[in-house]
């Protein structure tokens, strides 16, 4: 307990569960932002540590293996009739995700202008780009598993850790995108229905946006460390 709490004050505080709720809701505010936004940021902070651990363990196994690492530039090349273009699918996925981040930023902006139709439309477009991304990822996974024979425990090209790292990292990111698409759709429909008209508070759009931008942010690191290394 802080030294600014006197003995009589301590004595008047309720004990047990009642005390717990009382202490945790004691109106001490450090951050002058809406609580929903702060909580989303704290969640994203914890998620940062999860992805940080994945990428760090990937770095560790890649650095410590004696077996050559499969060349991502070749593994993820795609041919449209002619010569294979290196990393082309991944590049397209990157552009899809950045485009969706842009439409999301615009949605937040229109939310604060209380333009319900535009906000909802932009959020649904964002969700559609997200779904496109997942579709492309499903295609990529299928190609790697079926055509190239890459498994979490081994692959024909080199270090077996390649599959484990790849499926773990991109899989976890893909789950985040999928959840984001659902989250965006739900909030967009609520905006469209006018659920936030009464309060005039469109903070929820910004909070949803934070989550979506984070998904894009994680992809920036995956793109750099997994695909470009």
């Amino acid at each position: 307990m802080g030294s600014n709490v006197t003995e009589p004050q301590m004595a008047s505080l309720p004990e047990g569960l009642q005390g717990l709720t009382r202490d945790w809701s004691s109106d001490k505010q450090a951050f002058h932002i809406p609580w929903g936004k702060a909580m989303m940021w704290f969640f994203l902070l914890s998620d940062t540590f999860i992805f940080g651990c994945f990428l760090t363990s990937y770095m560790n196994v890649r650095m410590s293996t004696r077996v050559p690492w499969p060349n991502p530039s070749e593994v993820f090349a795609l041919s449209f009739g002619g010569d294979p273009i290196p990393l082309i699918l991944i590049a397209l996925m990157t552009f899809v995700l950045i485009t969706s981040s842009g439409t999301m930023a615009l949605a937040v902006n229109y939310g604060y202008r209380r333009d319900r139709a535009k906000t909802a439309a932009l959020m649904l477009i964002t969700a559609a780009f997200g779904a496109t991304f997942i579709g492309m990822q499903a295609f990529e996974w299928t190609k790697l598993i079926v055509d190239e024979g890459i498994r979490p425990w081994g692959n024909p090209m080199g270090a077996p850790q390649f599959g484990a790292s790849f499926f773990m990292i991109t899989g976890f990111h893909g789950v985040h995108v999928s959840i984001g698409v659902i989250y965006l759709t739900v909030v967009a429909l609520k905006v469209l229905k006018g659920d936030y008209e009464a309060s005039g508070n469109y903070e929820v759009v910004e909070i949803t946006g934070l989550y979506w931008h984070f998904v894009d942010l994680v992809w920036v690191f995956i793109f750099a460390f997994f695909y470009l290394w």
């Binding site: 450090a30 951050f31 002058h32 932002i33 809406p34 936004k37 702060a38 940021w41 704290f42 994203l44 902070l45 940062t48 540590f49 940080g52 760090t56 363990s57 770095m59 560790n60 196994v61 890649r62 650095m63 410590s64 293996t65 004696r66 530039s73 290196p86 990393l87 590049a91 990157t94 552009f95 950045i98 981040s101 842009g102 999301m104 930023a105 615009l106 937040v108 902006n109 604060y112 202008r113 903070e203 910004e206 946006g209 934070l210 931008h213 984070f214 894009d216 942010l217 920036v220 690191f221 793109f223 750099a224 695909y227 470009l228 290394w229």
Partner: protein, 118 residues
């Protein structure tokens, strides 16, 4: 500049950043496409990555318009990860050396130490 927690900024800001992110992504893709190697490749990859991440956090996630107390609370802890990453890099290197030594590939060890850092 803004009322408490209310983040409303001109549309042009977002459009500019959006465009920049596109350009930076094209650049980072070109690093692989052109086939730069070694330190040049790595410094370019990291530079474009940090630029993109910074723009997304600062502008799209509105971090530069938040109060310093909040910025520190959110961006401070992930910075500590860099120590962890550093230690794991050292550990990975040691594991590799131990393995090469065990499998009798020590010629490669000498080569590895003189030619490349990582």
């Amino acid at each position: 500049m803004t009322t408490e927690g209310h983040q409303e900024h001109p549309l042009s800001v977002y459009l500019w950043i959006w465009g920049l992110l596109f350009v930076l992504s094209i650049f980072s893709y070109l690093v692989d496409y052109v086939g730069f190697e070694g330190y040049l490749r790595w410094s370019l990859i990291i530079a474009f990555m940090l630029a993109k991440a910074g723009l997304i956090i600062a502008i799209f996630m509105h971090m530069i318009w938040e109060r310093l107390a909040f910025i520190c609370a959110i961006l401070g802890p992930p910075l500590l990860l860099s120590f962890f990453i550093g230690f794991m890099a050292i550990e990975g290197d040691t594991t590799l050396m131990t393995r090469l030594d065990f499998f009798g590939e020590t010629d490669f060890v000498a080569q590895h130490y003189t030619e490349t850092v990582h």
